[in-house]
């Protein structure tokens, strides 16, 4: 077996498990990976790209809305709700958590709090975006070298031995 390929696969596996360990991705991402098969070969990349474009738009809207004279909290809340939904659906755990905090501040109508939170969300989003982009690059390398992407086994399942 190609040593280079093995090394790449190892790096990919380590990178992926690090993402899980650091809480950047959660089990929902694994679900996405499981949905990917021969009939849907680029499912994960497609969904994640959708998430990126959606979220960027939402973040822009949020910045604009919070900069208004009279902040329409209902609108802001709706945006955050959506962002929370989409981030949880791809497993971007940290982004989702930040959204939850944001909503609390929103309900309190606490503008400085909201602004701080928005900063936080932006940071987390950029982080997950860059990490995922690196991940996809690694996967592409492995596939190009002829290997296959292992489904993430970083969430250990205890198997009952059958005897």
């Amino acid at each position: 077996m190609d040593v280079g390929l093995m090394q790449m696969q190892r790096r990919l596996a380590e990178y992926t498990s690090a993402l899980f360990k650091e809480g950047i991705l959660d089990s929902q991402y694994v679900q996405l990976q499981e949905l990917q098969d021969e009939s849907n070969p680029d499912f994960v990349v497609e969904v994640v790209s959708l998430f990126f474009t959606d979220s960027e738009k939402l973040l822009n809207d949020l910045s604009r809305d919070l900069a208004q004279q009279n902040v329409d909290f209902k609108r802001v809340d709706a945006h955050v709700h959506q962002l929370k939904g989409s981030s949880s659906s791809i497993g971007a755990e940290r982004v989702k958590n930040a959204c939850i905090v944001f909503r609390n501040f929103c309900q309190e109508k606490n503008i400085p709090g909201c602004l701080r939170c928005l900063q936080q969300i932006k940071q987390e989003f950029l982080l997950v975006k860059s990490k995922l982009e690196t991940l996809f690059k690694l996967e592409q390398q492995v596939v190009a070298a002829g290997g296959s992407i292992p489904t993430s086994g970083s969430l250990p399942t205890v198997q009952q031995p059958i005897l």
Partner: protein, 761 residues
């Protein structure tokens, strides 16, 4: 007289006899006394011995019991080790040294389990703790599975493992009731022994069915009774009694038939003196056991299991000059026929080895159609020259013999070249024959349409000639199997057919391939109406068919089979012949690649053709509507639902959903359907959406539904699971709620919940 003696002159003469008499009496008394003493000694010794035996037996019993008890602990520890190894797999990086070590660890634990089971089985049987489990299973399939299991291992040694179809009686009565696991263990043990001790040649496994004759029954039952009484008084062994009881029970059961199995190998053989003792525990034939592992318990277990199932096992004598060992054992199983109405006796009347397949029609909805239905009358079939010829080129002699004899029994004409060099000659012969036939055959109506009908769901059994027994058409549902039906000898094929079965490793592949292609092209030129089909037999591990060498010129209709040629694969190939229901049309080339994979499930494509529902997809055939404003959620839901088998319709908000539903209903009304069906089987509704949210949409949908008397389960997608939210959901009329994001598991949970409530399905 006495006075004479007293005064007589010969007192000595009288004293002597008296003295002798007295001495004699004394001697006799002595002897008697001595015998007495001896007898007492003997008695004492006997009592002592009996006591010793009893003690020894009870010791052994308790040892067996202790073994059985200890099994729990040992197994538990082993289970722990296996489990830990499994978990470690997750943590290891693929391809590392550690992973390799783990793999070896796993292999060692598997071996350990094997040995442990061997030892524990023996103790279990001795302790009398092996109950027989009854289940229905397919015997022919079991035989094939076991043979296929050992085939690769044996092939590596250069030994072929062949499933000999024999006279086909097992195929006729393949669904039986009995203990599948134990039978499998018996066969596996015998086969693994055979593989161990055979270095070249072949191993044949064959089976046939016999009806235990009535006289045997009577003899057995009476014989047993008084013999048993005699034995009882002097033997106290548990298993002997239970064995006898089991024997009685089996033989007296009117439903059970005797199934005889043989495992025949060409290995080292067992010397006559050791034949009895190999079945004793811990005895191994030492000369042949060098380098072989094993506990020496295998055959002992086999014997115990066979006896438990009411039969016995012995080593058969082989003919002069034949080497190897042949184990024969019999068990009693109850054949279980789903559709046949004729009782068992008539089938077997024609004789155990009989060739008359008269109407053994049994249809089992689950078995891969292994039963044969022949419309000919009761007679030994001889190969009909008008039938489709089959050319069989197989390297292994024994396999060739068994295939040939089986096919000939079915009335197929088989031409067998003994080596690959003879192949062109044989092919030429076939060519001549077909040409002759083509000139002489009557121009009968080609029964193409009749043959095709065989494959349709409503197989018109009424069309077949001959007697048909109790066929329930409903059991043909799903077309899970095909009955190879042989047409009566009256038919003559206008369109001829030639089948070539070629073992790709029988000789240099290039040459064989060239011979076959030459034959084919010439054939097509001379007799265009005759079809020629080739089945290539290849070894799964060492492919002989070099695709590059033949430049991909393999005819798309050819089939490549890579598993051993017996059992279901043999039957599959036989079914290719038109006499047994084969297709004459060309099938799309896609099927070629799929064939080798199908093997035992050869009937699957037909099941799909006839449109039976796919059982693995829980939502197969259902329509789902997804209502969500987030594109990501829509995409996710669509993927999840389509993976579960549903057809998915997407829309962005409640207003669109309502519109789609209204359109679905209107379509039905316009096409004049009186009974309106719901346009969707499930609706996945997001709660928060612009324009019209989930709650309002649901309320409106429920209003629409009431007008037509339909109901669509609505599953709410919500990020909240708080009490008030949930209340709102149910108040609006939704049936179930799942938390965002909706993954496959959550969806299925909701759907099964709805189905159990009776709302779905």
């Amino acid at each position: 007289m006495i006075s004479f003696i007293c005064h007589g002159s010969m007192p000595l003469l009288l004293v002597i006899p008296i003295a002798v008499g007295v001495i004699a009496i004394l001697i006799v008394i002595c002897l008697i006394a001595r015998t007495r003493v001896t007898v007492m000694h003997l008695r004492a010794t006997l009592i002592k011995q009996m006591e010793a035996t009893r003690q020894a037996e009870s010791k052994s019993m308790s040892k067996s019991n202790a073994f059985a008890q200890a099994s729990h602990d040992v197994r538990a520890s082993l289970a722990g080790v296996i489990g830990l190894i499994d978990i470690s797999y997750d943590e290891v990086s693929p391809g590392s040294e550690l992973e390799k070590n783990l793999k070896q660890l796993e292999a060692c634990t598997k071996d350990l389990m094997g040995f442990l089971n061997c030892i524990l089985d023996t103790s279990k049987v001795e302790a009398g703790k092996m109950p027989l489990q009854e289940e229905e299973f397919d015997l022919a399939q079991l035989l094939e599975d076991v043979v296929d299991l050992y085939h690769p291992v044996a092939m590596r040694k250069g030994v072929d493992v062949i499933l000999d179809p024999n006279d086909g009686t097992v195929l006729k009565h393949s669904l039986v009731k009995g203990d599948r696991g134990k039978l499998k263990q018996i066969l596996s043990n015998l086969l693994s022994n055979a593989v161990k001790f055979t270095d070249d040649g072949h191993i044949s496994v064959r089976a046939w069915v016999q009806k235990p004759s009535l006289e045997k029954l009577i003899l057995v039952s009476t014989g047993n009774s008084w013999w048993k009484r005699l034995m009882c008084s002097s033997c106290k062994k548990n298993d002997r009694e239970s064995g006898d009881e089991a024997v009685n029970e089996f033989r007296q059961n009117p439903n059970s038939a005797e199934f005889v199995f043989e495992v025949d190998d060409t290995g080292k053989g067992i010397p006559k003196e050791m034949r009895k003792s190999v079945f004793e525990n811990y005895i191994q034939v030492k000369e042949t056991a060098q380098g072989q592992e094993g506990t020496g318990l295998g055959l002992g277990i086999v014997q115990s299991l066979v006896r438990l199932m009411g039969g016995d096992i012995k080593i058969m004598d082989k003919d002069m000059g034949e080497r190897g060992t042949c184990f024969r054992f019999n068990v009693f199983l109850a054949p279980f026929d789903a559709g046949a109405t004729k009782p068992l006796e008539e089938d077997l009347e024609a004789g155990g080895y009989g060739v008359a397949h008269h109407l053994g029609l049994t249809i089992h909805a689950n078995s891969p159609g292994l039963s044969f239905h022949s419309s000919s009358t009761r007679q030994v079939r001889s190969p009909k020259p008008e039938g489709s010829p089959v050319v069989l080129l197989i390297q292994n002699e024994e396999r060739r013999r068994t295939c040939q004899s089986y096919m000939e029994r079915l009335g197929i004409e088989v031409l067998v070249p003994s080596q690959w060099k003879d192949l062109p000659i044989i092919l030429k012969k076939v060519q001549m024959k077909i040409i002759n036939n083509a000139y002489h055959s009557s121009s009968g109506k080609s029964d193409r349409s009749w043959r095709i009908e065989r494959f349709s769901k409503s197989a018109s059994c009424s069309k077949s000639r001959g007697r048909v027994r109790g066929v329930s058409l409903s059991s043909l549902d799903g077309a899970d199997h095909i009955l190879p039906v042989c047409k009566s000898p009256g038919h003559k094929n206008q369109a001829g057919f030639v089948l070539l079965i070629v073992d790709a490793s029988a000789g240099p592949f290039q040459e064989i391939f060239m011979a076959v292609t030459e034959f084919r092209t010439e054939f097509r030129k001379l007799i265009p109406s005759t079809r020629c089909k080739v089945v290539w037999l290849d070894k799964p591990t060492m492919r002989s068919i070099d695709q590059r060498a033949i430049n991909g010129k393999l005819d798309p209709d050819d089939i490549i089979m890579s598993k051993p040629f017996h059992g279901t694969r043999l039957l599959q190939v036989i079914r290719l012949l038109p006499e047994f229901g084969g297709f004459l049309q060309r099938r799309p080339s896609k099927q070629v690649k799929e064939r080798p994979v199908q093997n035992a499930e050869a009937t699957k494509p037909l099941a799909e053709e006839t449109g039976s529902t796919r059982r693995e997809k829980p939502l197969g055939g259902k329509r789902a509507l997804v209502v969500d404003d987030s594109e990501i959620m829509r995409k996710l839901a669509q993927c999840n639902l389509s993976n579960l088998g549903a057809t998915v319709q997407l829309c962005e908000n409640g207003k669109e959903a309502l519109q789609l539903i209204r359109e679905g209903i209107d379509e039905q009304r316009e096409s004049g359907v009186s009974d309106i069906h719901r346009p969707y089987d499930y609706i996945l509704m997001d709660c928060q959406m612009p324009t019209m949210d989930g709650y309002e949409a649901t309320r409106k949908i429920r209003k629409e539904e009431k007008r037509y008397g339909i109901y669509m389960p609505i599953i709410a997608l919500t990020a909240h699971s708080s009490g008030t939210e949930v209340k709102k959901i149910f108040e609006a009329g939704m049936d179930f709620h799942i938390e965002k994001p909706a993954n496959g598991a959550r969806l299925m949970k909701a759907i099964t919940e709805i189905q159990s409530r009776g709302g779905g399905a």
